[in-house]
Symmetry: C2
Subunit: 222 residues, 2 copies
């Protein structure tokens, strides 16, 4: 795959884009990062061409062909570059469990976290409550393992860790401490952050806070 052209159409603050950045880094695949500058205001013709159905980043473009939806992209990376740094277990049952938790994160975590910074009053409180509940469920699944993948950093870790770069913002607007509520979760996140693949793929949490501040002003939430 020496002559492969791999492009990641992404937006720096996207926790979904971070999944692909990390998976590509774990597999040591060189790729061209293309920032979708006008994501909020003016989507690029490349994005509309590559993801006409959802019109969302991230899009992984491999030799000109687009793969949309971040979890599907991570599975694709796993299948194409299968000889290096396996992200999914080989046992079908364990694979199904990993897919279950990635799906749980997609269904539950984004929605509740979005309410923490994107709403006010009761809706915000409900979002915060749901968010912490979801983290506690995930903490239960993690148990005493170092990673969701057991001894190895893997699929569920990749699906989840990008959210951590938004935690400072969630905590600022929701007025709570994740570490006080879910210490094992935070210990896991700090463990992941020690990996090069993660550290270089996640943005600075203060920059994320500034970005969300801008979004709140734009949406009139202040």
């Amino acid at each position: 795959m020496a002559n492969d052209e791999v492009i990641l159409l992404d937006f720096w603050a996207s926790m979904f884009g971070m999944r692909l950045r990390i998976a590509l880094a774990e597999k040591e695949i060189k790729f061209e990062y293309k920032e979708e500058e006008g994501l909020i205001t003016n989507k690029s013709s490349l994005l509309l061409e590559m993801n006409p159905i959802h019109k969302k980043v991230p899009v992984l473009i491999h030799n000109g062909k687009p793969i949309c939806e971040s979890i599907i992209g991570v599975e694709y990376i796993e299948e194409v570059w299968k000889d290096k740094a396996p992200l999914l277990p080989s046992d079908p049952y364990e694979r199904a469990q990993a897919r279950f938790w990635a799906d749980y994160i997609d269904k539950k975590l984004y929605v509740s976290s979005r309410k923490i910074w994107g709403t006010k009053g009761e809706e915000q409180e409900a979002g915060k409550k749901d968010f912490i509940e979801v983290l506690k469920v995930l903490e239960g699944e993690l148990g005493e393992k170092p990673y969701f993948g057991g001894d190895n950093f893997g699929f569920v870790d990749i699906a989840l860790i990008g959210f951590y770069s938004w935690f400072y913002a969630y905590e600022t607007y929701g007025i709570f401490s994740t570490e006080a509520e879910c210490p094992k979760f935070v210990a896991w996140a700090k463990r992941c952050m020690q990996r090069d693949s993660v550290a270089k793929s996640l943005p600075d949490q203060h920059k994320v806070l500034e970005f969300i501040q801008m979004l709140r002003q734009k949406f009139g939430i202040e």
Copy 2:
């Protein structure tokens, strides 16, 4: 796998359960079907034990271990019984595309279809409009192929065909004709219905209509 114990915890009208029934039938796997009788009113202790996170059918139980979320279950069936009747293509890009469309169905079709029978007035009209748009997108993806999987019935066909048993109810409450709006889609559905695996896994559409009529009364939509 001669001594495998396969149980499907399901509810007869679930289009998600139908996916697993069809996948098991395609692979010619014998299984015990367990109806979750009290789905609406009183969930069984088996369901709560097997799917404590979502508390929903279907659950595939293989040698005592539960696999939740229907699409994940279909992938599991494909991986465990891989030698017979492949449901996914072998090419990673084509696999990613199949997963994309199954995900699209999960994200878009249920929500819009639910509004057709479960709401009134403007919300119902919006649901109907979205529903037909989603079908047209899917028709575009089908193109001139006999199945979404090309010449072979496969993953996307399995993800989608269960909804067809609810179409008579959607059409009755939404007052429209799918065949007039999306003739190629209906031709595809009828083609699928000629397969034994599908015909024996889908309930009678009149029985589904009666069931939805009961739900509408229960929810006070009439």
